[in-house]
Symmetry: C2
Subunit: 350 residues, 2 copies
């Protein structure tokens, strides 16, 4: 048998100079080599190593949570991350925003013929690093290859499984008048990093995507504010769109204070240049926590001490008035509506 | 709020004549309309309807199992199914082959700009039907759209979650000498249906893909043969490749009996014409059960009475001799090796 196996896997793939061809997705020898030389090396864990088509998981204690995302971001590499770190962090965050501890990830790859294996390796390593940072295991996966001209390098789909933290119950429907709206840092970094990279804007070259796993931050929030009502990550559509969704789902109003919303100077400048409002630009490493007034200060303190929460700020209040509407006290002292995004959102930002 | 929502979702999409554009994947209004008019209608269940980014699931009782697959099959519609039925059935089967009851599915869509919404609707309806047949719920999903020329109509990734059936423990490592090898029906139907369709072979026009969810069949097997050792679906690489994997993982030999392996006449003819061996051609609605000798007859009987198991047959025996090798008593009475697939497998067959 050992000899049989040796014969079958005789020629290793060239990770440095090789390119993906259709055989790497056909489920035969080349697929097995790609798995052992690229994926298994980066994702190594005892569940994946069972080598079964499906993964057997340890018992899940809290309410199980599942979330999935297809990632088609362009470009694949950008300041502050790549499609791999984004795919893992994005799914970790979707699970965490259910008030849950993310545990496992399933990852599927659709690769375009001709893609450099070195780039795939770099992306897969980046996924492994992000998974280790978040404390999640990539337990199963699948790889398919499509002909040149039928993909765009690489698409990654990630599905995350987790368990709700003890005693926590969050939902977009649970915001209550009097609650405070806290965000975990500056708005618009991810979207403007991608746009600057894509448009080749030199003045935006210092902007980094904020892409990061936020599950440790969520655990700190749930410890400091056990009655947290809503957790949400303001990704596509940004803070404004996400708050409108919450205001609508909870039938409450939300009053923001513009002066308290952190926006990095270079992001603000790039937004101004492109005629964009940072409140509508995507974030990939920020969250919104809506917490009862009495837990807001301790929550804010815990967030500022937690990973990826240093710039946290209380930015608004939930109101009984004007249910379904988000408004903002502006820097000029007036009050304006913060509407749903009217224009269509930027494609392929995640 | 109601008015706000009405305004936001004012113009419904045209499911019959509309085409997918980039806004349908951008996470804004068009995405929401696509979800409510196409996906939610076909997948309707109480978990999906919560409308959260992640799905909260009921408690999972047995050992949790997760499996995922990216589906890039070409063509999207084929005799006996389409990419939608295939995606659901394929993932249901991967979970079931762990000796588990599939419960939930997460589905991600990467759609190429210009794709007819009517085709998407047809595929999504087909997913819903297959999910209902299998008794699984599609609980969460994501949709992204890529520019024309960066996809091939539609790619679907499905991740399945299930629970191991009480008392069942199967693994490719558990085949033991004396065990019987049972298959649930004829070999090669899926692969030859796709190839005939793709190559426009008129003589193969009667061949239907066998794509089907096999979880009910697996439950019957586990009832009739509670000590079943291995469950596997012989997809890419066919029966020959899958049995070689099992022989290798379990360090046993396998001796097949060619006369007992069912192959439909038209599949055999199409294979002969194309110079293919049906034992290496993909199946999407068949399984291999390796069971102890004393449970083989009752297992076979139960399989023949179960859905998608009517043509089940005992086709071989596990041996202590020649561990790692699969051999076959041929129709001519000789014995030949059944090797791993040497040629590379057909791309985009699933």
């Amino acid at each position: 048998m050992a000899e049989e196996k040796r014969r079958y896997f005789a020629t290793p793939i060239d990770v440095k100079k090789g390119i993906i061809d259709l055989t790497h997705g056909a489920g035969g020898r080349a697929t097995a080599q790609l798995i052992s030389q690229v994926f298994a090396r980066a994702f190594s864990n005892e569940i994946l190593e069972e080598g079964h088509d499906g993964a057997f998981l340890p018992e899940i204690h809290g309410t199980p949570v599942v979330s999935c995302d297809a990632h088609v971001i362009r470009p694949l590499f950008f300041p502050g991350g790549d499609i791999g770190s984004l795919a893992v962090a994005g799914t970790v965050n979707d699970v965490a925003m259910c008030g849950a501890k993310p545990l496992y990830i399933a990852a599927c790859f659709v690769i375009e013929e001709g893609f450099p294996i070195a780039d795939l390796d770099r992306i897969v390593q980046s996924m492994g690093r992000t998974a280790r940072e978040a404390g999640v295991k990539i337990v199963t996966g699948d790889t398919k290859v499509v002909e040149k001209g039928h993909g765009d390098g690489l698409y990654i789909t990630t599905t995350g499984i987790g368990e709700v933290l003890p005693g926590i119950r969050v939902s977009g429907r649970l915001a209550r008048p009097g609650d405070r709206v806290i965000i975990s840092g500056s708005m618009g970094d991810h979207g403007m990093a991608i746009m600057s990279e894509r448009e080749g804007l030199s003045f935006g070259s210092g902007i980094q995507s904020d892409s990061a796993p936020l599950n440790a931050l969520v655990e700190e929030i749930c410890r400091a504010a056990p009655h947290v009502h809503v957790l949400r990550d303001p990704t596509r559509g940004g803070l404004a769109t996400t708050l409108n969704e919450i205001a609508s789902q909870s039938s409450v109003g939300i009053m923001l204070d513009e002066a308290s919303i952190p926006v990095h100077e270079d992001v603000a400048q790039a937004c101004e240049f492109l005629g964009l409002d940072p409140l509508y630009v995507a974030n990939e490493g920020k969250l919104i926590a809506i917490v009862p007034e009495e837990e807001a200060e301790s929550c804010l303190k815990a967030m500022r001490a937690a990973p990826h929460g240093e710039e946290s700020a209380i930015v608004g209040t939930v109101t009984a008035e004007d249910p379904g509407y988000v408004q903002m006290t502006t820097l000029m002292g007036g009050v304006r509506m913060v509407d749903w995004l009217n224009a269509d959102q930027l494609p392929r930002i995640c």
